[in-house]
Symmetry: D2
Subunit: 145 residues, 4 copies
Amino acid sequence: MPTRRAGAGMDRDDAEAILRSAPYHQFLDARFAAYEPGRVVVEVPFREELLVNPEHDIVHGGVLGALLDIAGHYSVLSEVGARVPTADLRVDYLRPARTADLRAEGQLVRRGSNLAVADAEVSQPDVGDDPVAIGRGSYGLSHVD
Amino acid sequence: MPTRRAGAGMDRDDAEAILRSAPYHQFLDARFAAYEPGRVVVEVPFREELLVNPEHDIVHGGVLGALLDIAGHYSVLSEVGARVPTADLRVDYLRPARTADLRAEGQLVRRGSNLAVADAEVSQPDVGDDPVAIGRGSYGLSHVD
Amino acid sequence: MPTRRAGAGMDRDDAEAILRSAPYHQFLDARFAAYEPGRVVVEVPFREELLVNPEHDIVHGGVLGALLDIAGHYSVLSEVGARVPTADLRVDYLRPARTADLRAEGQLVRRGSNLAVADAEVSQPDVGDDPVAIGRGSYGLSHVD
Amino acid sequence: MPTRRAGAGMDRDDAEAILRSAPYHQFLDARFAAYEPGRVVVEVPFREELLVNPEHDIVHGGVLGALLDIAGHYSVLSEVGARVPTADLRVDYLRPARTADLRAEGQLVRRGSNLAVADAEVSQPDVGDDPVAIGRGSYGLSHVD
């Protein structure tokens, strides 16, 4: 069980242990490519199972939404030092995601007394610089002691 | 290739063929439990791979978000008769989803000239009646001819 | 100063005093048409100053968003018994609002430990039954003692 | 009636004429402080009528939401060259807005075929640099000819 230091952020090894313990993250093969207080990058290699439309090679929007949620979540956790359940999330789909690896960056926007706000974007560096989807989420801080 | 009848809705067999053709839907094992113009129910059996936290048996929020997106999407498609890309989606997480089958209901709210709005909710009938997550999405109608 | 009974809801007179004390509500001339725990109706008479487009007689979307926020807010306050700051709000504009009185109904969806979720819709009874805008907001509960 | 040059953006004088023609904008006394294709700044002087809570000197969230909508809207219009109705908007309230002038900046994020996405933030330069509210909206492009 990782040590939690409320208010002091969580170090990368502890966060990685939580990230990798989730069966759904194992399905995605999600890993940190960067991790610092208030900002994380999560990478997911492309796989056939992520597609919504095999004819047109488009990644499922639900996968992109999950990556935005994960990146936002860990950007908060890295600063707050405890699990922070997602309260709500908005996702905007900007362009189709293709058969290439996915990179999700999360950034803490605001840490309030009982809620934090984080922004996230998913891009495909092998395809281009423009994000394919952007998200903004609210994360509950009630379980921080 | 399913026949598309723009403006006339899509029949269940054609929609089911599209639903089942998606590799990510096959991973989820998503199936229609109800299908009518403007309203669909999608069911997903519980599986270990859907969990975010195996210690506390909580389903990953990204999976719930995907189900809301799918249910909203097909509630529009069933009325509009063509694929309708998700423009944006808001998800509110109301309570943890447990180790039980998932049921997502989507309902068309408004069909405009270039955008449709749909509401969706995910519940777990074996656990209780209250939804675990609710969502609202905007779906583009530009590709309808 | 109205009495606050945390956890026990706030009665209509106290809520009305708070509603009417806000200068912006006085500008809107907002009043309760219904008030019960978890559900309120707020009415705003039509006025020229609410228009965005005087040529086409369309009410400003910012006014509709404010009404959704107000209705959602008081649906939470009526149940929780204290002011509950809006954390975030999504508004969907379904059709233009015309030169007619506005009616906003708010409904508490879920009261959590540090956050409540409420739905709201604005309609114009003199024009038709369909809502012109719908909203969903998250309201912080941290200041409830 | 301002000339509309679809696809070519709208010049500042034409946009200002539309901005100033709205009775609700006149109530707010909203003016452009900056205007270029894809990015605008709108300023609103503080007035008593904008308050929600005169005891604590807090500006009404509905006013902030309206400013986010306006700034996002004109950032799209400045690039697209025609009125672009707001389809949906999410607002996140980050901190209370005080008795000081308001500055809303809008930025076009993505112009699609039938929808544009814009980000906006409201700040109070006389109080501090941090935004008091941030928003993200989808704007319909169907009426562009």
